[in-house]
Structures are given as C-alpha cells and as structure tokens.
Subunit: 387 residues, 2 copies
C-alpha cells in the first residue's frame, strides 16, 4: 500500500460563535485527502481528515514539509513489513524528520491531521471501521458500541437571555442528550451563576452540567469562579486557568472540591506529562481533553496514554476535545470516557454521521469502513472536491 498523493484545501468556517476569549469569525479548517494505490469496490482508497476544531488551517506546513517528506520517502519505509499496509507510526516518524525539538504547535496540527487521514485509509484498506482497527491494535479488541456523549452549547450571543438558554437546553434534552456544557467567563459572575442555575434546573441535576471558561479568566477571576462554583457539584469546571499555568491549576485543585478539566490546548505528550506532574490534578476525579488530530495524531496519543497510566489515570477520565467522527472513533476504539458534540455550531465540521443516533446520552457508532466520513454528507461533499 503506497501513498500516491496528499492534498489539502482550506475551508472557512463562517461561524458567529463566541466564548469567553475569542470568536470564530476568521476560523478556517484544513481538509486533507491521502490518495493510495489500493482499490476497493473499483474505487481508489482515499483517507480523509480535517484539523479538528478551534485551530486555523495549516496547509502551508503540510505542503512545504509534511507532504513532500511522505511522498518522497521510500514507499517501503512507510509500510508495515508484515501486512504491507501503511504504518502510521512510520508516517509520523517520516513527517518529524528535520523538525526541531519542542515548539510543537507549529506543526503538531498539520502532522496529526495527515496522520488521521492515513488511519482512515488504513482502516478502509482493511474494510473495518477505524474504532475496530484501533481496538484490535491497542485495546485487546474491545471497543465501545455506544459512546457517552455530552453536548456543548450555552454560547454567548447579543440579546441571548436566560429564556433562550433554557430553550436551547430543552431542545438538547429532546434530542436525546442528558449532559450539557455551557460557557462561563464571558459575562459577569452573577450573570453566569444565573445562567448556571437555569441550566441545572432544566437538566434536573448539577451532575449533568459542565461549565467551560475557555482559559479566559485571570488569576483573580479563576478563584472567584472556583469559589462560586464549588457548592454546585458540577460535572466539571473546564479551562479555569491559562492552559500552561500549572501552578494556578494546582492551587485551584487544592481547593475546588469537584472535577476540573483541561487539555485541549496542550499539544504534546510532554506538556501533558507536565500537567500531571505540576497541575495538581486528581487521577480519579479530573478530566483530560487533548485534541488528538491537533496533537500529532493517534500514534502519539498512545504515548500520552502511557504517561497517563504511569500517573495512575484511568482512560475513562479522558474526554478528547472536538465533537467529530475522528474523536468518536478514538473514544470508541480506546474505550475512553466519552466525547462531546456541537451540533450546528461549526457547520459541516461538527457532528457525526447523518444517521447517528443519540439516546439517553449515548451516541451510536458508524460501522462504515474508516472514520466514517462517507456517512456525513455535507462534510463528505467538501472532501470529494479535493481529488
């Protein structure tokens, strides 16, 4: 199995959403296709991916460095010697040639997005869903049939009042979600507390509500929010600090009695290790949310899993960032804690297959070969334009 060509297109997101620190009006996403020499059902096997949520398109890094390295490599050097199929670990090593240590985010998103597309191609070559391939390789064949899935929302918008928030949450409950995450930190503390109390009332339990400050609070406000949120017993309090401020995180973890969550803005295994060493998080309680395609992909994620294990973390404490099919495949294949959903928020770049069902907070998994993008029509239409 050989890579014949890799292409990238950058697609604007056109989202009007806003959280505590930034809006998405300029956001773009890299969509990637890896064309291979294999054929299946008279069609070439093509692996697809995109660069997840919240980081800009990175096609230039792909085109200037990662794609030439892969396309100019000896094809055998990228193959599993036993199966002759593409070896994602070899592809990762090839892409990392001539890359300086650290400075991860300058390339981790480009590398991870291409790596995910290679996994999609590899799973299609085996005619298996990606979560089954991952389960077979890394999890003793065990995968989740249904995945716990919470829904994100509660974004800020001009004129959006408590009654709108209440309506939004009721709609999500009607759709089959049971747990919801809303934004905090983009309004005054008292307004946010009113929003939170509204949300708890509609959801029926504070354990069904998580809140997300998107790293937008300064030290004083972090503490204010941690103290104010403490009595509520929320599912979790997400990104209460700057993502790299392990000291403040550790101080908060010493006081805040319920789960803290972070990790979507850590892009390397070493950053996660530092979070575990210095962030004071509690192995049985707190939540890690790395974004797999943005942090070098699945092979690197297995190394992050090893580090978590060394620190006595259970993989059930991992809720990877970004509500998309790539994340869902990883959650199901590795048996992680669960995933998030952002229906309707990031256009075609959020959500799952069109036939996916959410019932009682559990999301059904596509049994299509690969990641399953072929079952997500609006997104797959974009992907089909690449070749």
């Amino acid at each position: 199995m050989r890579i014949l060509d890799i292409r990238e297109i950058s697609v604007p997101l056109r989202s009007s959403m806003r959280n505590a620190v930034f809006d998405f009006s300029e956001m773009t996403t890299s969509v990637v296709a890896v064309l291979t020499d294999l054929r299946r059902n008279n069609q070439p096997v093509i692996g697809f991916s995109f660069n997840s949520t919240g980081r800009y398109a990175c096609g230039d890094v792909m085109r200037k460095r990662m794609i030439p390295r892969l396309c100019e490599a000896d094809p055998q050097s990228l193959q599993d010697p036993v199966t002759g199929l593409l070896d994602p670990a070899a592809a990762l090593a090839c892409m990392m040639k001539r890359e300086k240590p650290a400075g991860h985010t300058e390339r981790s998103i480009a590398v991870g997005t291409i790596e995910l597309a290679i996994w999609d191609a590899l799973a299609k070559a085996q005619d298996l869903p990606l979560h089954v391939v991952l389960a077979n390789r890394y999890n003793g064949g065990r995968y989740l049939d249904k995945v716990p899935c919470y829904v994100g929302g509660g974004w800020y918008a001009p004129g959006k009042g408590l009654e709108h928030l209440e309506g939004e949450i009721r709609q999500r409950l009607d759709e089959g979600y049971t747990t919801m995450k809303i934004k905090v930190g983009g309004a005054s503390l008292s307004e946010d507390i009113a929003r939170l109390e509204t949300a708890i009332k509609v959801l029926g339990s504070s354990e069904r509500l998580a809140v997300d400050a998107n790293a937008g609070l300064d030290r004083n406000r972090s503490w204010e929010y941690a103290k104010a949120l403490s009595p509520y017993g929320l599912r979790w309090f997400e990104e209460a600090t700057d993502p790299l401020d392990f000291k403040l995180m550790s101080e908060l973890a010493g006081e805040y009695p319920h789960a803290l969550a972070t990790g979507e803005n850590l892009f390397s295994t070493q950053d996660v290790r530092n979070l575990l060493l210095y962030g004071g998080l509690r192995a049985g309680q707190d939540i890690l949310q790395v974004d797999i395609p943005q942090s070098y992909g699945i092979v690197q994620f297995t190394k992050t899993l090893n580090v978590l294990q060394e620190h006595s973390w259970s993989k059930h404490q991992i809720f990877p960032h970004a509500g998309n099919l790539m994340t869902l495949s990883a959650v199901a294949g590795f048996g992680l804690g669960g995933c998030e959903a952002y229906p309707g928020v990031f256009g075609p770049f959020a959500g799952f297959t069109d036939d996916a069902k959410i019932e009682d907070g559990m999301l059904s998994i596509s049994q299509r070969p690969g990641v399953g993008f072929e079952g997500q029509n609006a997104l797959f239409e974009i992907m089909c334009k690449i070749f």
Copy 2:
C-alpha cells in the same frame, strides 16, 4: 505613522549543517517588510525583519491572519497617542485578536517577526538605532556600546576530525572571538570528550567553552553527559534535556555543578515561568536563551523579563538565541548578558553588519537607524526585493 502594507517572502537557507538532532537542508526563513507612510531622506520608512534561526518560514500565518488584522485595523488604534508613531504593544494586541489561548508556536514566530519589523520602522522614524530606542523606553537610557559575543561552531560533518575542529577554533580566535560553543551528542560520548578536550586546549580555558546538545539526548545520555562534563567546569551545558522536560532539567541541576543553559525552544512567557518554577535552575548561575523574534517579539520579551525578575534572575543571565542584528539590538538595548555569532553558517541570515568588529570577544554595535540591516549587504539585498 501608519502601516500601508506588509509583505513576506520565504527564502531557502541552503545550509548543510547538522547538530545532534537534525539537519538544516530543508530550512526556510520568512523575510518581512512593513511599509509605512512616513518618509525619511526622501525614502519611505520600511521596517524589516526575518524569523531568526532554526524555525521554518511562516508566511502563510502572516498573510492569512496577522497582516490582514494589522492592515485592516483603524490606524489610530496602532499608534502611540502621544507621539503618533506606531505602538508595537498595540500591534501585538491587534495580531492576537481571535487567537486561542496557548498553542503558542503556531503563531508566535509569525507575530514576533512582524513585531520586530515594526520596531525597525519605529526606530528609523526616530532616526535612532533600535538599541537606543529600547534603552530609552525600557532601560533608563542605558545601553551597551559593545556586546559580549561568543561564537558557535563545532558542527558535525562527514570526515571532520579533531584537527579540523582545532583549525576551526584557531580561526575564530584569530578573528577576535574568545569564547566558543561546540555541538555535543551527535557522536559517542568518548568522541565528544576528545572534541571537548581539543577545544579547551586551543581556547586555553574551559571557561571559554560551552557545549550544546540541542535537546538530542535521552534521559540516560543526559545523565552520562552531565556526569562526564562535570569535571571540566565549562562555560555552560546547553539543552541537555527535552526543552519541556522540566523534571529532568531539575534533577540535572541538582547534580551538575556548573551552568546549564536552555530556552531557545520555549516560545511563551508562561513556558519560561514554568521553567523557572519547575526546572530547578539556579538564578545566579544558569543561562536563559529565548529567541525574541520567535516568541512574539520585544514587547512580550519585556513581560518575560518581569517574570525573570520575580524569580531573582539577573538580565545578565540572558543570552538570547540566534546570532543576528535583531538579537544584538535587544542585548545592547536591554543590557543582557551577551549574544551568539554563527559566521558563515546560515548564509545571509547569520551575522551582523559588514563593518561589525569583534575584538577580544566584544562586538561593536551599528549606529545606523533601526535594527541596522542596511549595513548587512547580502541580507539587505534580499530585503530590498520585497517591495
């Protein structure tokens, strides 16, 4: 003073150099020009910069996000209200709009390179060398007339033996340098020790030799090198660990009796803060080597300086990464410890003005307005092609 246009070109480095972890054969550099509406001597005032050493060109990030944000901003919002000149702090804030927290390196190099070009334009508008502008603004008007400058070398090359290393060092001494840094970790420990002993013999003192492992040693080899180097009393031992492995750095600092150096691969103030909190470095002894254009530029560097001060570090312990005029201006203007030189290694992207003199390890400073690129002909020729 307004920005009329900003342009970037990517230039291949064509260097055959190799350190312990990677070679520079694919390396490119972004060269930036900021065109302003001011005129001086009948010429438009244009600020120039490039993205320092060792990280790839990043023009796509500039063109897609940073340049449009600056060029579409209300010009008054980028001006110092008192002088009407460009305000680099305002430019930094403008470029950081709609940027997600952390994930620094994805944009810190693009932002910092443009910020440096704005400083070049600002200093030219005042008809002052940049180091004088920096001294006036940040250092009570005090700047260095001459800057301590060591020379980097001792790269690995096929067939390069001890006699070549000896010749290389003699040449540098003849040129006026007194202190040299050579690579380690790209050969066996015994070969490296032989290289080091050769270098000390030629330099006349181990205090005149620093060594650089370029973060290429694993944990075991870090320890082997730290133990083997301990007796020599070198000027410093650089990047003995992964740049983000603060735990190993802290363990080494507890045992290695002489100066350790690191920082060229930390790109945010928060990463430096974590290094100081967890890396075990010793305020009066160890060396910090951030790369200013690669880590958001000079305004952000002043915040890093504040963090260093909070941790009782002297600015004399800072030897910023990269031997170029931008670094030299910062070292002279802030009164930092010194700078490095890599004559002939990175083509036109290393070195200082053509009339710069190195005598007894001290480098003379250009008195040209701005950074002084106009005095570095091979580089300035490239810059002149932008507009």
